[in-house]
């Protein structure tokens, strides 16, 4: 059997390898965390579109604050919640560069709500990649605006009480209502099929920007947080399907500026 494998393993038979637009740094994310996958497909898209040299990415504050250690392009790190404003500053002064933010739910839907809403409302020609895992991961698993009703976290130890802390915020549906958004979609990266679909969505988002199609391209990726949810990676994805997807249904919400009527 050994020689058979060595026969297969050679350059002509290569079908999948790490993109050069990901650095060689070991990812700081927990085992099985969707951030790594989301990083990877984003960089694969930039490679396939040949725009790595013309793209500037913005990392948030949160688990993906260190995105610039893993994304092999010019990157900026923005203050918590301010990435859409930082992106606006770059895109307005470098209109021919490709600009995207990569943010978590605490960053985009809590402290950065105003920046998110207004960048979308101004129709900035940027891509926003929004990883929603229903929790603040970096700081140790606190409740986020996207935490589900009854969902436990270190700041909702008895489960999120909607009467006290309100309901989960569906930022993606909110921004889809704004005329300034062009493409709004919600994806996931927990199965091969979903990863491929998410990658196609991210590619479409960047193609819109490359072709100067006005408006924000907003890609939410519902993801797991096995450390914060205190589950194994495999179990966290199962839990995500059963609990997160009913509240955050996958699929395109707005395409080419038109809401997709369900």
């Amino acid at each position: 059997m050994k020689d058979e494998i060595s026969e297969i393993v050679n350059v002509e038979n290569l079908v999948y390898k790490k993109t050069p637009l990901m650095t060689d740094n070991i990812l700081s994310y927990c085992p099985g965390c969707g951030h790594g996958t989301a990083h990877r497909i984003t960089m694969e898209v930039l490679e396939e579109l040949g725009i790595g040299e013309n793209t500037i990415g913005i990392a948030p504050v949160g688990c993906s604050v260190l995105a610039y250690e893993f994304m092999n392009i010019d990157m900026q790190q923005a203050a918590h919640g301010r990435a859409p404003a930082v992106a606006t500053g770059i895109k307005r002064t470098w209109p021919h560069k490709i600009v995207f933010t990569y943010q978590g739910d605490g960053d985009l839907a809590a402290i950065g709500t105003a920046e998110t809403i207004h960048a979308c409302n101004r129709g900035e020609n940027i891509v926003i990649i929004f990883v929603n895992n229903g929790i603040y991961g970096m700081t140790g698993g606190q409740m986020a605006p996207t935490t589900l009703p009854g969902m436990k976290s270190s700041t909702s130890p008895y489960g999120r009480d909607v009467h006290i802390m309100g309901n989960p915020l569906k930022m993606t549906e909110l921004v889809a209502e704004l005329p300034g958004t062009r493409f709004v979609t919600r994806q996931a990266v927990h199965t091969p099929g979903n990863v491929r679909k998410a990658k196609r969505a991210i590619k479409k988002a960047f193609e819109n920007q490359i072709n100067f199609k006005e408006g924000v391209n907003f890609v939410e990726i519902v993801s797991n947080c096995n450390s914060g949810w205190k589950m194994t990676p495999v179990h966290s994805n199962e839990w995500m399907v059963e609990n997160m997807f009913p509240f955050y249904p996958l699929g395109d919400i707005k395409v080419d500026g038109e809401l997709v009527n369900k």
Binding site: N54, V65, M75, Q76, A85, G89
Partner: protein, 360 residues
């Protein structure tokens, strides 16, 4: 010779920005400085020099737009007034940490809180001691005329790019709102993309295959590296202190008493000095033009020839601390200043000198 115009201080900053080849201005309305963005919107410099003018949803968003553009090597600025500048402090600290050149104008109004819309100088500590978190300093320029409001835009950017650091113009509502003659300099063209990449090779302009990626961040979870970064910043501030101090002396040659005052208080002090000399009181003025770096040596030198120093500030007294430090508290240094947006008169300034220094 530049163009002579009669303008408000706020308008002079805006016009000077267009002429200095600024790439973008991100602002937000707040009295007493809304004329800056209003003037820029009316001038539509996007159609002439290509300068972007954008009104943000908040001062926080505006300063972070400045962050993004500055980190990409562009010449960018914002302006606001006291409460708005407080909102920008986090962004300013990030830019000091990430070493981003930019210009921030603060047209100060009375505080604290919503305070008033009248002039004040009560943001001195915030501007010179660092209103944000961490060990950092802004280079702080204090204009005392509409002419200096215009001149300090290009001066500010020169310093910002020389030291890769944010620079603040610390003005006040009086200088922002009053009209004076101003000579406006010729147009300097905006930098081309190639010039930007040459001038700021560290900037995020898109990573070609020929270099490593540029990362603009103020974060380093390795505290030993972060300490090295802080040591580097402190070296920069030391260099700034050694090379960039600027001040002006007025009637100090035979002065027996000294006013130290900047911005509008300096103009009031000059009048008080004239009134005093009519009564045989020989006082002079040292006017700091850079509040950071503070002109300590000049004050120390002048203190040898005078019997006392009065710090004239539209505040409860903040710069007075730096004056006392300059003379190691070895001589009489007192403060006088109206607050809450009330402007002290030259007569009051003279009376304060008589009571607190001469009589005291």
């Amino acid at each position: 010779m530049g163009e002579l115009k009669l303008m408000k201080g706020n308008e002079a900053i805006a016009e000077a920005a267009i002429r200095a080849g600024v790439d973008a201005y991100f602002g937000y309305p707040i009295t007493p400085q809304s004329e800056v963005i209003e003037y820029l919107m009316a001038e539509k410099p996007y159609e002439t020099t290509g300068m972007v003018v954008l009104q943000a949803e908040s001062e926080i968003a505006a300063i972070n737009m400045v962050y993004g553009a500055a980190a990409s090597g562009k010449k960018v600025m914002t302006s606001s007034s006291s409460p708005g500048i407080s909102l920008k402090q986090e962004g300013i600290s990030y830019m000091a940490g990430a070493e981003l050149p930019c210009l921030i104008a603060n047209v100060v109004r009375g505080g604290p809180g919503l305070g008033t819309i009248q002039p004040s100088q009560a943001d001195y500590f915030q501007a010179t001691k660092g209103g944000g978190h961490g060990d950092y300093h802004l280079i702080v320029l204090a204009p005392a005329s509409v002419q200096e409001m215009a001149d300090f835009v290009s001066k500010g950017f020169d310093l910002a790019f020389k030291y890769r650091a944010p620079v603040m113009i610390l003005s006040d509502g009086l200088i922002g709102q009053m009209m004076e003659k101003v000579i406006l300099s010729e147009h300097t063209p905006r930098w081309t993309d190639e010039e930007i990449i040459k001038i700021s090779p560290w900037a995020t302009t898109g990573k070609p295959a020929t270099r490593e990626r540029n990362i603009i961040t103020s974060l380093d979870l390795d505290s030993y590296r972060q300490e090295q970064h802080n040591i580097h910043l402190q070296k920069k501030y030391k260099e700034i202190r050694e090379n960039e101090v600027e001040y002006e002396e007025y009637m100090c040659e035979d002065a027996e008493y000294l006013y130290v005052a900047y911005g509008s208080s300096a103009r009031i002090a000059q009048k008080a000095i004239q009134l005093g000399r009519d009564k045989g009181i020989k006082a002079g003025l040292l006017r700091p033009i850079t509040l950071y770096p503070f002109p300590s040596e000049a004050i120390r030198r002048l203190s040898q020839q005078v019997k006392g120093i009065l710090s004239l500030e539209l505040s409860a007294g903040q710069m007075i601390e730096d004056i006392r430090l300059s003379v190691d508290c070895q001589m009489k240094v007192e403060h006088f200043g109206r607050m809450g947006g009330v402007i002290h008169s030259p007569a009051e300034a003279l009376q304060a000198l008589e009571e607190k220094i001469i009589g005291g």
